[in-house]
Symmetry: C3
Subunit: 315 residues, 3 copies
């Protein structure tokens, strides 16, 4: 693994999960492993959990984290080859990424999709340009199409709450939202859940099919009630249309997950990557009740990041 | 003390003052006391002194500070219970505070008042929601109604410059300003000065009465000249009207503190929390002269914060 | 040297270059030299390389860096003496600089020129006010008229690539740009190159003469082709007019540096401080080819800053 950008294989993922759980028990057990190393955390988009959890993860390993909010502290980067830079962009990604690569041992980058240029987003163009030109291991802090640290934290959480149930039924359900939301969390959750060998049912209104690249092997069921029956883990998430790219096709409130929605899934635990819009995506009753694992997922973000950084320190 | 949000009692405050003065002599004397601990400093409003002094204070104790400018780096938080979040707010305080609580050992939060919703401000609603949901000790970095770290630094400064004068006359005088300014610094200064047993005179134009919750026991005198006679410490501060909530009722320049204003207070030292608007609130001649303690107060912010953080490390 | 703001003399500069190269070989050789010390890095303007390289430099020496983006996290500072502060400025530089001076052991400050008030810019007014009132050693992170850390990094790079050529021909060439750009990098490069005893040719369209304060001793040649003949080092940079202050007099694309421009300088290495506008100032073919030293310069920024901070730790 040269970079951490996606699900690689079950064996490696299981290793990362196990290491994360070991760090959760004893966060500082490798506190000098990264002495003298630095990670540059570069945000082209806002962040709370991802930024802080990555800083804490690095610090637990003795790695010095430096955060760059390029969207606020820096300037507009040119991503395209061969451009005559006589407009708004101030620096080419080639030059900026190479400099950052020379300043840090590991880079971590967040680059959201445009949701307007499907072709570029599918190819993870902006994120890919950083990887291409930085010359150092790159950890994705969410790219246009994937959010692997979130997915690793999600799988850690599933493993923690799944001890007695070896073949959990995992359901990913679309939820309403008022904004056009990226596909990255949903894509990665499907990719990792399937990759770990779990059975996955995805439910969403028609027109909200995800990129088949990530969902191959999952059961697609447009009837939410039916999809949720006997679920063990229900992952709630909005995303905009992939086929009618970036569009909001529905805000149907009946898709909000409530206790009523789970009447036939008495043991279901409910997951969400946060930030969550209460009473739009998920009801207060669920978020404030015993089913909710959202705070556990958020806490596991620290150990997911710590496990991945630790892995790169070994290479 | 579960949180540091206000004056608690004279004994504890004296203990914090004495510890602060010990740290001022030897800033690193407890430099490993907080090893492995983290403080999350969350700003919903801008800061210079408060942010840096808290970072230095934490670092002096071995505590790792992480700063979050939520107003710039984060997103709008929903503060109200039960809202359907289909408008501008992206995350509920319940969820954000709980995550931050799980990431840090101590939280420190700045949340200014609206100055438009008196009821919510009086109840310190926003700050209170953080305290309610974070599950960790919270240090106020200025809330809607109090600024206790500033007041602790002010009392440290008064103690330093008051050695020969056991019963100093302390005066809090309103000063002109062009913006509607919160009551927090004035409230807290009154609360702490009275709590420490000092005699306090408050002077302001009519209509600028502060919340009696904080000023009970002080002498109110609307004639500034009379109030300043024989003063030992004069604290200069603007605030907007409390009764006609958030309004500017006067910008009368005769209330600016000058050498002339202090003609009958030859020994008076002059204090201000900074930032100060020169020649509007306070004259250059005073700020650049020997009476001014404003730089001492600013420096004492470090040791005030260090004393409070140290206190929480003991619990 | 009380502050690091400009070229002082050849002996000191050579010492700083040599120390920087020693740090480049062994970045952590003085890793405890600055234990317990803090540097406050104050940005009134955006930064990427300068901010990160200074943080890394400080950290290599055990010095704790704290970054303040005053342009974004702080508030507007009043720079003028005696002003009645009843407008947009919130704090006077006198007060803010003195507080920062009391919080840090070393300050580092970036303050760009207005490009509208020539008199103030020439006198480095804003930067000078910080120096005047901070009471601590100040390192320039680029002021209105100089960028000495960049120039030190540039001289380090020239020394590295100049081993066989004791008297290199150095050329500073103006390049087109679409924005009005400060003179600081060009001024400082001239000042340091001449100060180190190198021969310097400066080429630019008519009307782009730099302040003679910095260029005295250089050959001025308005024919770019002629200037570039047999050059060993070509420094490419745009600047706005100095005489017709802050104006853009030309965007003539024939001044962009290309391989064609260097047809009579086969061994020329090409330098730029970054960020560079590709295919406007410099062609892709040069930036992506073997002549380009731009990444080396950027990396040397770390060791330039480390050398200077180390120097102040000795005093």
């Amino acid at each position: 693994m040269n970079h951490f950008t996606k699900f690689e294989n079950k064996e490696l993922s299981q290793k990362l999960i196990d290491l994360a759980l070991a760090y959760k028990k004893e966060p500082r057990k490798d506190q000098h492993k990264g002495d003298g190393k630095r990670i540059g955390c570069i945000f082209l988009n806002p962040s709370l959990r991802t930024r802080v959890s990555t800083q804490l993860a690095a610090s637990n390993l003795g790695v010095e984290p430096i955060v760059l909010n390029m969207d606020k502290e820096g300037w507009a980067l040119e991503m395209r080859e061969g451009e005559i830079m006589n407009k708004g962009t101030v620096e080419h990604i080639k030059d900026a990424a190479a400099v950052l690569g020379s300043y840090f041992d590991i880079l971590a980058i967040r680059a959201f999709p445009s949701l307007t240029n499907r072709e570029e987003d599918i190819n993870d163009f902006v994120f890919g340009q950083f990887v291409r030109y930085s010359g150092k291991p790159v950890i994705s802090l969410e790219s246009a199409i994937r959010h692997p640290l979130q997915s690793l934290a999600d799988q850690i959480t599933i493993q923690e709450y799944c001890k007695k149930n070896e073949n959990p039924k995992v359901v990913l359900t679309w939820a309403p939202h008022i904004k056009a939301i990226p596909h990255a969390v949903a894509n990665s959750f499907a990719e990792w859940t399937l990759g770990m060998g779990h059975s996955l049912t995805i439910t969403h209104p028609e027109g909200y099919e995800l990129d088949p690249l990530f969902t191959k092997g999952a059961t697609i069921e447009t009837n939410q009630s039916k999809a949720l029956e006997d679920a063990d883990f229900v992952y709630v998430k909005n995303w905009s249309s992939f086929n009618d790219y970036g569009k909001i096709l529905s805000t149907d409130p009946s898709w909000m997950l409530t206790e009523q929605s789970l009447s036939k899934a008495p043991h279901a635990k409910v997951m969400h990557c946060l930030p969550v819009r209460r009473n739009l995506e998920l009801s207060d009753e669920i978020l404030d009740g015993d089913r909710a694992l959202v705070q556990k997922q958020a806490e596991n973000r620290i150990y997911a990041a710590q496990s991945v950084i630790s892995h790169f320190l070994d290479s």
